[in-house]
Amino acid sequence: MTTLYDPARILAALQPAFADLTDRFGSRIQAIEAPRPNEVYLQVQMDLVSGLCAQLYRKWQARLVSVFADDVREAAGVFHVYYVLALDAAQGFFVLRVPLTPEQGKVVSLANALPAVNWQEREIQDLFGIPLGGHPNPRRCALHDDWPEVHPLRKDFDVKTALPPFQGERHKFRKVEGEGVFQVPVGPVHAGIIEPGHFLFSVAGEPVLYLQIRLFYTHKGTEKLFENLPVSHGVRLAESISGDSSFAHATAFCHAIERASGIEAPPRARALRTVCLELERLYNHIADIGAIATDVAFVVANAHAMRLKETVLRLNGQLTGNRLLRGMACPGGVRFDWTTEQIKTISNFVRDLMPEFDSLVTLISESSSTRDRLETTGILTPKTARDLGVTGLAGRASGFNGDLRRDFPHTAYDQVQFTVPVYQEGDVLRRMQVRIDEVRQSLSIIEQVLARLPQGPVQVKVPDLHPGAVALGYVEGWRGEIFHWIRAAGPQRLARCKIKDPSLQNWPALSEAILGNIIPDFPVVNKSFNLSYSGTDR
């Protein structure tokens, strides 16, 4: 066992789990690195992964939050496959690194035991061309069936490669047959103003028997592009991973860069980031509450919600120059400081929004027909949610008691008091209720941050990255946990940027939640998750 770390540096809370792993698997762990106290890398062979994961899941309540690969054939002659496990209680991450030779390497699937990794493993197969063994459904996922045999995230693939034009869908959907069973295809172009994706419903009469979701229509080479841009441009690209989470993604990216270069944003920058993250949460949650009301034909409530959303977007514009908070994030802090006047504007805004929001909630909650449509609709049971690793607000409506803001405090969340709403019922009503609770928490968080706003600079210079430095950045966006993992290639260049949007994890839950519901309820169930297509497809 090679040791490249100082054991004392590892976070005290991670030590018991770490000692357990080294006791149990010691001789088979080939290398240990702890670049940061809460981020411990264990290099192991593929055959040990399932055992390690099982031990971490059973004994330490770990969650597998990201699985991805990295092409280091040039330097080390192998691919690396990474498994990121979060230990919420210990506030730390174990990252398993598995070297695979290009000739014989094979990813042994965990999907049978952990359905949560289904798409992520297939993505590795598509984007890197590493074979996948033992997967229950090893078909293509990230690259559609008509794509030629290319593996875009391999280093020898040029981002500008011109591929033959798309010739049409060759995907074979599973057949669902039986008397009175028919299939309803929807998409990729949908009826509303939303992103593209294909849904194939199989129904018997009205209830949905089976829903097949086909995504990755908006795949636009984002992860590959990061490898071809300087870090300063990368931040702007991060803002375009999922437009409604522009600031959260950009901040997760900056967080990763800062961790890789061993610095931390100054206190005032962290406070401003916190306010921006909460503003992003506010406008999305309010818009979703309105949209859920629309989908059950309560349009007046949506008109009020849209009005409130617009006030947040305008405030965003005044504070950052962009209504979606773009241009604000930068590694080492934030780009713009706020004047006393602007801070007063935020305080007034929060004060004015509270009664307005309460009145909107009253309007919706007093409508018995709305409640009737939302309650017991689209149930995602806590067990299914746990199996699929559903995170974020959708998870919290189904018994998942986790929130990176509380469990892995980043930005200034360690300075504020808030509670994490958790419900067990998992229906549309509870997903709306989580949003309602979180809007109130957001307003309170903003007030708390502004009440104790630190003075000082909002930006520090980020030292050059060491080639080969790796780091995991994380942010709880409004939808759920966002992870950016980077490996530096040079002072201002990245060799890899893995983006993990919570949508990727949560999409399969929609297929479960809709079962037994009727197709006319699909829009409201879908909206109650409101997952990002672009964040999934990248």
């Binding site: 591929l163 990729p188 229509y217 702007r236 305008r314 120059g321 241009g327």
Partner: protein, 304 residues
């Protein structure tokens, strides 16, 4: 029921007038370059994440292009270069892709700095004399005053389209690969604040019912066919509006193995709406421009 009515009555009218009385405070709009005083374009071209400011040196001259169709209005160039400032101009829709570009040619000195401005194309954008038309009234619901950059508009087809859709317009929106930022703002057009239906404009579910295709995003390889099919399903005459930096040019994604670039690489585009994302008012201006209800700003009056 009475509570709902009471709330609506107490809220009052929230719809903003159009054309708007003033630009949105604090928003970063198009960058403006002082081409005469510009000494070196290289810092700005290096810092621009989308290549909206691009330079090419050849035989002692440098040709620099500012392309608002690529710009995401991040303001990094203005931080790096005192000859550039960010304006609040956000309603920038144009009928021709080329109208979004300004190109300047310079003679270079031996250090590679710009010595002398040789020519400026699209120069009215920055130096055109203020015309007699009031900038504040550049967009109105009356037929446009036909500013000079309108010259290409006279084709019969466009007149027919304008006559056809003069009173009402049905729009089918297609996300051809966007990040969903543009969708956040397009949805806002249906809000009581922007209330697009007051102009007789309506978003529809089916392309068969539509007159106009509003397209966002760089066209991803996976969406090309769906986009073409949607376009083909729209009865003629039909209009296409490309939305956002990505829709205009591919934006920060540009062209790569999975992205074809701007919408005009796949469909004929009638109006380009820059922005990242365009504000609802910018979208409204672009949509109205396409049906001849609004007007394209003369370049020198893009700012208010």
């Amino acid at each position: 029921m009475f509570d709902i009515l009471r709330k609506s009555l107490s809220t009052g009218i929230v719809t903003v007038p159009f054309p708007p009385p003033a630009s949105s405070p604090g928003l970063r709009g198009a960058p403006e370059i002082n081409f005469e005083e510009w000494k070196d374009a290289r810092p700005a071209t290096a810092i621009c994440p989308t290549g909206a400011i691009a330079a090419e040196d050849r035989n002692g001259t440098r040709s620099v292009t500012l392309d608002l169709g690529k710009c995401i209005f991040c303001g990094l160039c203005a931080e790096a270069d005192p000859a550039i400032r960010m304006t609040h101009k956000t309603e920038l829709a144009m009928r021709k892709r080329a109208d979004l570009c300004t190109t300047a040619k310079y003679a270079l000195n031996s250090q590679g700095a710009q010595e002398r401005l040789l020519e400026l194309a699209g120069q009215e954008y920055i130096q055109g004399a203020p015309s007699s038309r009031s900038a504040g009234r550049r967009c109105s619901s009356t037929p446009d005053p036909r500013p000079s950059s309108f010259d290409s508009l006279g084709s019969d087809l466009q007149d027919r389209i304008r006559k056809t859709f003069g009173r009402s317009l049905h729009i089918r929106e297609v996300d051809a690969g966007s990040c969903n930022g543009c969708e956040v703002e397009i949805v806002g057009l249906n809000s009581p604040i922007y209330d697009i239906e007051r102009f007789g404009i309506h978003f529809v579910a089916s392309p068969r019912h539509a007159d106009m295709l509003l397209v966002t995003g760089p066209v991803s390889r996976n969406m090309e066919l769906a986009l073409r099919k949607t376009y083909d399903a729209i009865p003629e005459p039909r209009l296409v509006v490309a939305v956002g930096a990505c829709g205009c040019s591919g934006g920060i994604f540009g062209q790569n193995y999975a992205s074809l670039g701007g919408v005009d690489r796949v469909l004929p585009v009638d109006v380009y709406v820059p922005g990242c994302p365009p504000t609802p008012l910018a979208l409204l201006q672009g949509i109205l421009l396409a049906i001849g209800k609004g007007c394209q700003m003369p370049k020198n009056q893009v700012n208010r």
